[in-house]
Subunit: 352 residues, 4 copies
């Protein structure tokens, strides 16, 4: 019922190899949407891997209607990269490439005209095949590891209709990146905070590379509907997993999958807070020192409220006060209390 | 009333310099004990720096009876060493030297005979002077940075009678390393767990290098009393500071200082759990994977109890169970859920 | 005659500050070009700093005609960032930002129309002032350290006419990045290999951010001439300085400065090899292992020639052969013989 | 003729495993000495791995008299640990343990009395068996990865008579660590510089842990001869391999193996320089800056000679001069020109 595959992704200097494990559940209904779910592409962001383990157990007991592909620990290189106790897996340590900015938009020289006459069913499958060809061509050229890993994950996901990329974010409240056209559906995830992206956004991330070709297709062919959806879901703090939290994370994902008819059952819609991505603001530390955070992830602040105090011992010990420049909701906090000037202290969903 | 000094500790490749800040409060009573308190020699372990900031405020309002010297952020090199969000300051990144194992025992070729005839007052001051001479001689030779930093901190502390080295320990319950002869006094810190060291222990740590010369003196001269005391105090989790926790940490330190007549007031004795250091056991991870911790720092477990599950995706997702080999109290946990085989998963005060 | 300034660029967690040192030589002729020279923005690439030290000595003895500003060790953060013996300064260790990709193009909302009526002299000074305004505005917002450092260096350089950014490149032959319109002048540097960039190239590097506004100005105003020039000069291997090599590096730079009438004397033109940047190809390692390099930086190879052997111990020891896919000249080699699959093994100026 | 084994040494967080490869050549003569050769336990020190590959080819063509076991890339964890282009494999990145200081002396509670009556042949095999028992017992306890790796390598080598541990040393001249009793034999390696260790030295390194039990045995049993030998051989610069250098390195090792009758043929004795280890002195950088090395590895200097200049830009560019405190031969140099105060600049075989 479930097929398990090991895909090699890198041979190391020692000759040993790194792999990803792929779990494939075959759906019982031919027309149900196909789902692709991966986790931990940034190495340290592992809560999604535990959620996938629990989803695996669920699907064994409750076979899905649509095909479901699960790829936990999607970046073994990043996961294994330790510096001290912590995991330094956000970017390639040789070239600085962010592992979630190297995905390749497979529409270069796409022949849109040729797609115009096709029936809906043929259109979608043809489009997927054309993209797969471009991915494989790129994959066979001489490329860097971050690019090769991205292409491997893309070839695993390109045939799906729904794509969930499970991340975490330092110390944070749960939130989700949502293409604007999928806002209503995203509410079913039970994630309290939504960051809304325009449908033409593309910066090389998995969610974007998944939906952007389809929004381009809709533009080119004047389609009224966009059949595919993808989301980056931020499941709280990185560097840790929590079994009780994973139950609640799983419940939200199952609710969405029910809503999309990938699995059976009734879904319930929630009312998340949402905020356009251009109002999602970063506050950088203005001074170096030790940060005592006063604000809390997910708790609303008013402009001028104290967000943090930064302790310095330049002369007498003093506390530099960081005040909120906005009304809004702080979502992501720097992982540490030890901060140089110019690090990313906090991100806020602002009312600006 | 308080004197502030900047002491340079290292010039960097860029030509810029790192400093430590030293705060000196003069005591009002000549015979009251002198106290030396430092924090954050391991870089990431910063809660003690916040406690020192609060102690500074207290002492400005409440001048001490004995001299008090405060050295927050005692290792600016370790504090500034970032890898990703976190602080990689436990050891020198060029040679691997642990910053709390490089202290130098200043008794080599000590002329014990010469000390035997002295009166108590002269004995103590002469012994301190002899040690200072040896420290300065070593400090003037060609030495590595970790050794130079250790010697700088030793020359700042050698004249004191009481020495508190404020650390933190990954994710942990508060605990304190105590030389056995100072066990009764240590109870005044209100730290719930004591790890008891024999009085001849020496592995290069600050607390040991401070008390060991005095226990040697007592041995050599058959003294019935050891006048000096030193402790490593582990103030919970590293990488973070907490203002509310700092109030409680400060209260414990003030209680001890009152008991030792460094500051005025009544002290109250507590009843900590204690455990000999040779029963303080480490559990290493037997497999690599994602760790879901079940036990909690400071909460007693029985032999055979489940401590953690380690999630692996080798075939179907499975959970490797880590069970306690001891009755005891887990105190320190690995900072991350991402673990290779053979990392230090947990430390337990065992009943063995 | 020379003015020396320290500019603070970052306060660290410890409270200490990092600085850059700026040396200003005042030129004797009002209309001679102004030159800006910086080095080591990637931390490990320090040969240029030694060249600047030697240029400083030269200019003290031989006062220039035009103003010369020197900024050695332009990135103290990157310079100080050690991991083991080596210097990990190519990118920010918290966010992965490449320090030479964060420069800010100061022409957003530029009012080109307003510039059209101006005389040449006024045009140039007005354009510089407009750009400076935009830089300062950006610099006063809440920004990350890599962005702040880039803006600091831009405000120091924006008033100049010629900009030399001194880099090094792993293990490499000397080479230079040249905007196509400045090809003839660049030949005076005596750098054997030129990589030619189109005049509209912009990826956030210092040379590009310096020339691109001026090529835009020329486009907008139909100017026949582009007055400013900028170059990235790669002075061989990183992580090391060589005094004898620095003499020869200095001679080339002085030859260019004579040609541009910044200093007095006759200049001599050289005949470098040049290659368009789109023919500058990267070869990634196809396997992990230990690399025995056969090709040498700066020595021509033919398609099919053996470039390197990669030693593996998977079964019997074997040597994987890396052959050149191009006729051309290998220029930059990976710094180490220890290579994972997918690292950048070599860059070649190809004849493709 | 040659047996090849893969030995797993660590499972990673991702579930992938690291291995070492073991090559066993069976000797044709029962009484010929057994040899164990390993390389690259410090990760970056890989020249010995290439030498082992060449030795493998030699032994396939020229079967040995004694058993030969080869273990290239003996520390895959250290080899794979990259930070930027370079390899950060000298110590464990979680706890700072130096991979060549964790070997375990397997003589605790050794019953020396029991060994006294035995014949020579029985004595040696019994002693090896007793040590193997202690190693296996330790290996089966809960231990850290560096300890587990050390024990794995020890169990692979304990049955041998000769042990060669192939290292490299930053930027350096070839040199060799030699227990004093094996000085004459060591001369056959054709390594120009010998560092002589007393026979009771033990700091946890492979060579020491191999010979120390045998020198203890000789002490306990008043044996006139020590049958086993071990050496740390430093084959020049780390981070690189060179095929031509490997030929010459191999020739030296074969010459020693001929001398010891492990392989057939005549050996030729050389005349290396030797120096007691307590005269092997380290010079630490007294200031931070950019180092222009003047001395060269392996070239004699006189006391007062200029060893290096350190470039600083504190005010005007200046060069801090490092002069030799000794007559002697600089052997190992810091790998980089970028130096903080207090790094290990140079090591000198001094005439002191």
């Amino acid at each position: 019922m479930v097929e398990i595959k090991k895909v090699p992704v890198r041979t190391l200097a020692s000759g040993d190899s790194l792999h990803i494990t792929v779990y494939d559940f075959k759906g019982s209904q031919k027309n149900a949407p196909k789902v692709y779910i991966q986790s931990a592409t940034h190495g340290s962001e592992v809560q999604g891997s535990l959620v996938i383990a629990k989803l695996f157990e669920f699907l064994k007991e409750n076979p899905p209607l649509g095909d479901v592909r699960l790829v936990p620990n999607a970046n073994p290189m990043g996961l294994n990269q330790k510096a001290g106790d912590y995991t330094f897996g956000r970017f390639d340590l040789t070239n600085g490439d962010n592992y979630n900015r190297r995905y390749f938009l497979p529409v270069e020289n796409m022949n849109w005209e040729q797609l115009k006459g096709l029936t809906e069913a043929t259109l979608y499958s043809t489009f997927k095949e054309e993209m797969m060809k471009k991915l494989l061509e790129k994959k066979n050229s001489s490329i860097s590891f971050p690019d090769a890993l991205a292409l491997t994950l893309q070839t695993l996901s390109i045939d799906s209709d729904l794509c969930l990329d499970l991340h975490c974010a330092n110390r944070s409240a749960h939130h989700i990146y949502v293409p604007e056209y999928a806002k209503e559906d995203a509410a079913y995830f039970s994630i309290p905070f939504q960051i809304i992206m325009p449908k033409d956004k593309f910066g090389g991330a998995m969610d974007e590379v998944f939906f952007r070709p389809w929004t381009m297709l809709a533009e080119q062919l004047n389609l009224s509907q966009i059949k595919t959806q993808s989301f980056t879901i931020e499941l709280g703090n990185h560097e840790s997993i929590s079994s009780s939290q994973a139950e609640s994370d799983l419940a939200g994902i199952l609710n969405y999958l029910r809503h999309k008819k990938v699995i059976q059952g009734e879904a319930e819609k929630k009312n998340p807070v949402n905020c356009p991505i251009n109002q999602y603001m970063t506050i950088y530390s203005a001074v170096g020192g030790l940060v005592d955070y006063v604000a809390q992830p997910g708790k609303r602040v008013k402009k001028g409220d104290l967000l943090a105090r930064i302790l310095r011992f330049s002369d007498e010990p003093d506390f530099f006060e960081v005040k909120s420049p906005y009304d809004g909701i702080p979502i992501v906090f720097y992982s540490s209390s030890i901060a140089h000037e110019g690090i990313e202290l906090m991100r806020i969903l602002s009312d600006v």
